[in-house]
Amino acid sequence: MPTASSETSTGLLSTTPARSTSTPDWFRIRSEAAWTEFQSLPLPGLNDEHWRYSNAKKIELADHAQAKTPTAEQSKAALAATEGLKERAARFVFVNDTLIESDTNSLPADVVCVSFEEALKSHEAVLQQHFMKGEQALGSNKFAALHLAHVKAGTVIIVPKNVVIEKPIEVFHWVVGDHAAIFPHTLVVTGDHAQVSVVDHYRSLEGEGGLSIAIADLVGGSGSQITYAACQELADDAQALHLSSITAGRDASVKSFQVQLGAAFSRSESVSDLVGQGARSDMLSVSLPIGDQIVDQRTLQRHKAPRATSDLLYKNALYGKSRTVFSGLIIVDEGAHYTDAYQTCRNLLNSNEAEANSLPGLEINADQVKCSHGSTSGPIADEELFYLKARGIPDTESRRLIVEGFLADVIERFGNSEVLDTLVARIDEKLLKAE
């Protein structure tokens, strides 16, 4: 059941989330506990290290309310705006946390790929085992509790041992209406040597503001491969929070890609836990903030097993008065010998007023470890620009080529696929807007 509107209450801060009567007891109990927890936890303050250079108040809880069930017109409009991939294994479209379309016809039979609501009924055991198990390590316990108190939409994908899904699974989360908040959830669990690729899109249809507090948990079994992309393109006055965790088992390889294009304030917290020997996590990100947009990125690479690799590359191309914050930490646990852990954040400043903050960190408690971290910020080099212009390429086009070139290695590392083509097209579109 939908909740009260923002006009008559203080929105998400104090409106008790409504749960449908069909919610299983165990989940209702967790959800209610989370609501209590949310209310008791303080909002992270300005001196909270996980919120340095940022501000939790940028997520305007009082101004947003749980999104209302969409009207038929809204659903139709969202579907029409969902262009999506031609070649896909499955597609889900949610509007205001309500499932309006799912197509899972091209999936291998033994794969579980269902909406979150459906999973609550049909896959209780898996959810009990994996659903929101860890603490939020990067400062958003309060928001995660709020998510758990409200969550009803998203996808649960369980790929059994040795099953390879070639084509991507695509999920669209639309938010519509004034000051509407959504809580999309993604859970991906792969069995040994399974393979899957999932893309979450977060988009605004119409309406003022908008808030998405999303959680994506990826659990990679031995030797499995997960490719995950989160593409956030909410409206310019929206707010986005994306909390993701990766758990990579023995020889598992997980590649994740954060594409931040929309929202006035967007924050991602991405944790990789390398729990199995030989595990690998590639953490990639591209953002193109313009105007007054703020992109706040927190990452943690936690090496808990030997001979694992984590390799993070975040690139931000800033325009206007935009601001980015990157805070990344690598922790190598005792015993996680022969770790390879890398972390690079690069910021290209396309305006004198743009500002990039970087806070890299390292904590090494093992031997034979290869670690590096670095961040750079700077404008386009004059000589680079001159070279392109001297070949007749106009200023804006030259700058765009340079920015595309700047982002190219992140994009290449994500790999060559149709998913990438769509993401690149979205990035290019945003670039045109940036000019």
Binding site: A381, D382, E383, E384, F386, Y387, L388, K389, A390, R391, G392, I393, P394, D395, E397, S398, L401, I402, E404, G405, F406, L407, A408, D409
Partner: protein, 252 residues
């Protein structure tokens, strides 16, 4: 029709580098400029292209009658001026092919795009002429290229963009003899009665392969001597010290 440089003065803050330079290059002609290090050769080439480090304090540069000094860098290129850089810059992440496509597209009317099939056909033909591996199409512009590969890449761009006037700034430096022959062959293939060249070099060696019609000596920001091919041989033998300003040449 000509590229005409009239009494060109250019400076960096606090220091004049070009001190009244005169030169006329007609289509079909190959001019060589030789001169000691620091005499202003690269400055001349960059001032012609509109590099913002240099302020032109007086003089004119007419490209087929049009003063290009008021034009933006990119507009000068589209007007038909090309500079093969002494030190070509690296452009990370931008492939050679995309870069050339963008440069060619910039020459088309707005909204039009280049024919990809024709483009690659021509690109491959030019690369074959320069004995460049096909892999250079997808590699980032100049990134990780050896000195010689960078110079070849400059000539590849010259061949693709087909300018009216081409300036080659020390294209020979960093080239071994085999590469020098290949690059020169490429340049010679582009010689035509519709195209003028200004070949800047410190060494006479290049001029054995790209035979100039006219040779100038640049010293301290001025052309101090002009002659035929044989002047370059004399310079090779005797160095630059003996050359002193000939008032007539400077005023020509």
């Amino acid at each position: 029709m000509s590229l005409e440089i009239k009494d060109l003065h250019a400076q960096i803050p606090g220091r004049e580098i070009l001190k009244g330079l005169n030169l006329i290059i007609k289509p079909g002609e190959v001019h060589a400029i030789m001169g000691p290090n620091g005499s202003g050769k690269s400055t001349l080439s960059k001032v012609l292209c509109g590099h913002e480090d240099y302020e032109v304090t007086s003089g004119e540069v007419l490209l087929d009658g049009e003063n290009i000094l008021d034009m933006a860098v990119d507009a000068r290129s589209r007007a038909g001026l090309f500079l093969a850089f002494q030190y070509p810059h690296e452009i990370p992440g931008v492939s050679n092919a995309n870069f050339l496509r963008a440069a060619l597209k910039a020459r088309l009317p707005k909204g039009e795009d280049i024919d990809a099939v024709k483009f690659y056909k021509q690109l491959y033909a030019r690369m074959d002429q320069l004995e460049m591996d096909r892999s250079f199409t997808s590699r980032s512009v100049n990134e990780g290229f050896s000195g010689g590969e960078k110079k070849r890449n400059e000539i590849l761009q010259l061949m693709m963009l087909e300018p009216k006037y081409a300036i080659l700034d020390e294209t020979d430096s960093g080239l071994d003899i085999d590469a020098l022959k290949i690059v020169s062959r490429g340049v010679n293939a582009m010689r035509s009665e519709n195209r003028g060249f200004l070949v800047i070099t410190h060494y006479q060696r290049l001029l054995n392969y790209i035979q100039p019609d006219i040779v100038h000596v640049l010293k301290d920001g001025r052309i101090v001597k002009t002659g035929g091919k044989e002047l370059s041989l004399e310079l090779e033998e005797r160095g630059y010290d003996w050359v002193t300003e000939e008032p007539l040449a400077a005023a020509a």
